[in-house]
Amino acid sequence: MDKTKKRALIMILIAIAIIIVGVIIAIVKGFNFDLLYDGGKRIEVDIGKQFEVKDIEAITEEIVGKNSCVQTVEIYKESVSIFAQDMTEEQRDNIVTKINEKYGLELDAKASEIIDVPHTHLRDIIKPCIMPLVIATILILVYIGIRYIRKTSVEILLETIIAIILGQALLFSILAITRIPIGKLTIPMILSTYILSTTFCTARLEKYVQDKEKEEEKSKSEEK
């Protein structure tokens, strides 16, 4: 076995090992979802004047912990949406009291109803990607088939499909292992991984074709 093949085999084995670990973690622990995608409790406080998000973040963090998110509401930016994985009525009351203290207000905590925010499923997040990726894969396979038809075989097409699937499996395994949250960045990550895996395949094929051409030229010149 030559060095390149050996290196490729090691890489594939490492990738498979990562995927296996990722699958186990995904089954046992599931994926880590971004707070806004994971669902939880949300309240809205109408402060009535412009405020610093940092101040509200500090108050929220003190009461419900770091697993929270503060967002400005409506165009006048005078209301705030506070999102936390869990929030009791007591915690809500404390948040509103602290906001009152900070801004010299007399807001009624009960006016900020605790809203249940549902969990967004992974399938709903990745669903829009499936169709474009399938179409792109078919067209890329057609291109590879045409461009490398004389120099390559069906194996190459299979290798490309495997590389694409392996790339995505590796991405989700890394997400499961590293606990990188599934959220707004997931789609760009999927697309980038896809681009990288297809580029890797064609770059390899192009190199293979060039090497073969060089070999042929060399043998021809030797014959002459």
Partner: protein
């Protein structure tokens, strides 16, 4: 000397483009400086979104039960209830409909409606316990009208205007679409409803039953009735008064105009009869009146599309109400975006420093060219109307990496025809980017567009700028 001037001109052009791309062009407008370079257009993930929450409507009904749990029909006061030992319970009338199956069906219908309304950039989440659905959509002028289309039950009914007997409903609809009719006084918008085979037969039957009775027919019928009455008198037969009345009623019923009422979402659209029987199973309802004003036509078309969307995707299994509706800014702040940009700029600076150290003057020129490439790409993105999302940042980084790699190839002069090699390697990327460009979902489309322009610019820019500059320098040396 001539070559030095050429290099200097290209460098100055790059500096100029970079300044426009990174800073802009400022002109004085009403005592303030305004950037006339087109601004970036941000997508929902960076700008924020309208977040709508809908939940199953509660129809509270008070039930009085005795000690054994039997329902008491009679109306009682609180005191009487207490006296008799009964209990009062508040029950949701729709409780039976609150099933997971119905919640999921509602979610599916809403997704279909969103897609038919052309809103492909959305996020939806269902609370499987309560049936509450959270929908995130882009904020624009039509957002408010779209919201009502999403949670409307979508009842379609054709019923007898008097008896209110339902003759046709949603289950018979095959397709509803918007149509336009050119008339002498402008264009009129119509809602075309096509029924399935069963519906077609039903409609034919309805149009025969509810046929418009023409005035002349009515008159003839009345004449006939009076003639018969006269003849009866003449012959002096022994018919009773009751028989005479029954005959007159029967004749009245035959000649009386029967009408249908068409309702969409319990709102009466029209009450009418049919001039001719409809055999095609197609109905055409005019929305608004004929107009030549584009704005008015668009308004009618939007209304027709709204009806079509509701009718096409079935009716919701239960009534829903809005429990939340507000615009919420993205949790990704401007400061966080700035940090990301600084990070990318830092890495780029290190990579360019490497080029300068390794390739000296060639590396410096290549770095200049790289900066020019970035600013040109930023301008191109803005003028090509690419909506900036997180995908744009990822695709932009990929484009920068590709450009950097091709720069190294040019500097190394490793391959004679590096542009041809790059072209073949870039074809799959181009295929992906073109496919992504045509997707309606903004995060994918913006990723595709940025990548597409990035790849095209890499080819064109390096062929026209980088390679000639470096070759001039080489010849000089």
């Amino acid at each position: 000397m001539k070559k030095a001037i050429k290099i200097l001109t290209i460098i100055l052009t790059i500096i100029l483009v970079s300044m426009i791309g990174f800073i802009g062009i400022y002109v004085q407008k009403q005592n303030r400086m305004e950037n006339i370079v087109k601004d970036y257009d941000y997508a929902m993930d960076l700008k924020g979104a309208r977040i709508i929450a809908i939940k199953p409507e509660e129809e509270i009904e008070t039930k009085i039960k005795d000690a054994e749990g039997n329902e008491i029909e009679e109306e009682l006061t609180d005191e009487e209830i207490k006296e008799k030992g009964y209990t009062k319970e508040e029950v949701n009338k729709n409780a039976e409909k609150l099933t997971l199956e119905n919640f999921k069906q509602t979610e599916e219908i809403i997704i279909k409606r969103l897609e038919q309304l052309g809103l492909d950039d959305y996020n939806i989440a269902l609370n499987e316990q309560s049936g509450e659905i959270k929908i995130e959509i882009e904020e624009n002028n039509s957002t408010n009208s779209i919201i009502s289309d999403l949670y409307t039950t979508g009842n379609f009914e054709i019923s007898d205007s008097e008896t209110e007997e339902v003759l046709l409903d949603n289950q018979y609809i095959k397709e509803a679409k918007v149509g336009y009719i050119s008339e002498t006084n402008g264009t009129s918008v119509c809602l075309q409803i096509e029924l399935n085979s069963e519906g077609r037969a039903k409609l034919e039957e309805i149009t025969n039953t509810y046929k418009t009775v023409e005035e002349s027919e009515e008159e003839t019928a009345t004449e006939e009735t009076s003639e018969s009455e006269e003849s009866e008198e003449a012959s002096e037969t022994e018919e009773t008064d009751t028989a005479e009345e029954a005959e007159t009623e029967e004749t009245d019923e035959e000649t009386k105009q029967k009408e249908i009422t068409m309702k969409i979402n319990d709102q009466t659209i029209m009450t009418t009869s049919f001039d001719e029987p409809i055999h095609t199973g197609k109905m055409q309802l005019t929305v608004g009146s004929a107009s030549s004003d584009a704005k008015t036509i668009n308004e009618y078309a939007e209304k027709a599309l709204s009806y079509a969307t509701i009718l096409n995707n079935g009716k919701l299994p239960m009534d829903y109400e809005v429990s939340g509706n507000e615009f919420i800014y993205s949790e990704i702040t401007n400061q966080e975006i700035l940090y990301a940009i600084i990070g990318i700029a830092g890495i780029t600076a290190i990579a360019l420093m490497y080029l300068i150290i390794k390739y000296k003057l060639h590396g410096l020129l290549a770095s200049f060219s790289f900066i020019g490439f970035v600013s040109t790409l930023l301008l191109l993105i803005r003028y090509a109307n690419v909506v900036i999302s997180l995908g744009t940042i990822f695709a932009g980084v990929i484009a920068l990496v590709i450009n950097y790699l091709i720069l190294i190839k040019i500097l190394k002069k490793k391959e004679k025809n590096e542009f041809v090699t790059f072209f073949f390697k870039a074809i799959p990327i181009a295929i992906c980017s073109i496919i992504f460009c045509f997707m309606d979902w903004i995060p994918i489309a913006s990723f595709g567009m940025t990548l597409f322009w990035g790849v095209i610019l890499t080819l064109v820019y390096n062929y026209l700028v980088t390679a000639p500059v470096l070759s001039i320098l080489e010849n000089k040396e």
